[in-house]
Amino acid sequence: MRKVMFVIFAVVVVLMVATPAFAQAGNQSLTTAGGRGWAIPLGAGLGMAIAAGLCGLGQGKATASAVESLARNPGARPGLFIFLILGLALIESLALYALVIAFQVLGLKS
């Protein structure tokens, strides 16, 4: 186990050292490849993936506890429903901000 951890940390350290080199290459291709490099779509996709994943985690937690409380007290359905939908909407809007920013970065506009 310790050996595995050691290898992982070594790889991380090597990657950290390598980052400036990647950044340089990225910068160059950002300006040269027809005004549009590989880093922009990559960043947009990664950002959207992180946002969607964390949003899914949050929504899953909210739904799980709503269902649990509904199982304990089925009479609370109407009040719960409003708060569940409200909470899901507010959580989801955070992921949607990321989506809008991704679209802006990619230069796609409606």
Binding site: P78, G79, I82, I85, L86, A89, L90, E92, S93, L96, Y97, L99, V100, F103, S110
Partner: protein
């Protein structure tokens, strides 16, 4: 600029007077295409409003206590839904808020759903349209809060619970109040826009069968987002008009 057939129709009929009016406005408001000043979202909004007016004129002319028709049942169901929600969130004296909330709900719902029909486009895929809806909601709840509580009492909301923190709380509260408008508009716009994009992407990958699933999902999202917009507007109204004890 791509024009839908309805936009083209409107432009053919009204391009000259609309262009004349827009040229009289300050320079940033001049149309980008003087020969076709009416854009797709505007044309679709006109269509949605015309559709709603026609539907409700028909309902109005057929109202009957003895033999309510199917369309009247639907209208009554809708009114009851919004009224129940108002009653449970705002409490008593909520009947005065029902008309605007129902109108917002129907406008957004029909606006979302019209995009599913081929050769049409949702007006809500444009951020400007959803911002318009959000501004209507903001103006409505602010004006109702001022009317219910008076300007001074309404402004006291912005100070927060502890008065000596006002220098911190006032900017935060003002920003959070204005951010409601932003979040309302971006939520609706991004959902409908993303739904359209997802359907388009799957259509380009597998053109047969599979996009139907996402189209159905899009319809569900259209209902849900219209409902959420109305629900949040109701909650903001209830927060604005609530009397402190």
């Amino acid at each position: 600029m791509e024009q839908l057939w309805f936009t083209e129709l409107l432009n053919r009929a009204f391009a000259k007077p609309v262009n004349a009016i827009m040229q009289a406005l300050p320079a940033p408001l001049h149309p980008a295409h003087p020969e076709a000043p009416i854009t797709n979202p505007v044309a679709m909004q006109v269509l949605v409003v015309a559709f709603l007016i026609v539907v409700f004129l028909i309902i109005r002319s057929r109202l009957s206590v003895d033999k309510p028709g199917g369309i009247q049942h639907i209208a009554e169901m809708l009114h009851e839904m919004v009224a129940d929600q108002c009653e449970s969130i705002i409490g008593h004296h909520s009947t005065r808020y029902i008309p605007l909330l129902t109108a917002l709900f129907l406008f957004i719902l029909i606006g979302n759903l019209i995009g599913v029909i081929p050769t049409f486009e949702s007006p809500t895929v444009s951020g400007a349209v959803t911002l318009g809806c959000a501004v209507v909601s903001w103006v409505y709840y602010t004006s109702n809060g001022i009317r219910e509580q008076g300007a001074l009492n309404y402004a006291k909301h912005f100070i927060g619970p502890v008065w000596w923190l006002f220098f911190l709380m006032i900017p935060i509260e003002i920003v959070s109040d204005l951010a409601r408008m932003m979040s309302l508009s971006i939520r609706l716009y991004a959902n409908i826009f993303a739904g359209d994009q997802v359907t388009a992407v799957f259509f380009s990958m597998i053109p047969i069968g599979v996009p139907v699933i996402f189209l159905l999902l899009h319809v569900a999202v259209a209902f849900l987002q219209a409902y959420i917009f109305t629900l949040l507007s109701t909650i903001y109204i209830s927060l604005a008009v609530a009397k402190e004890h």
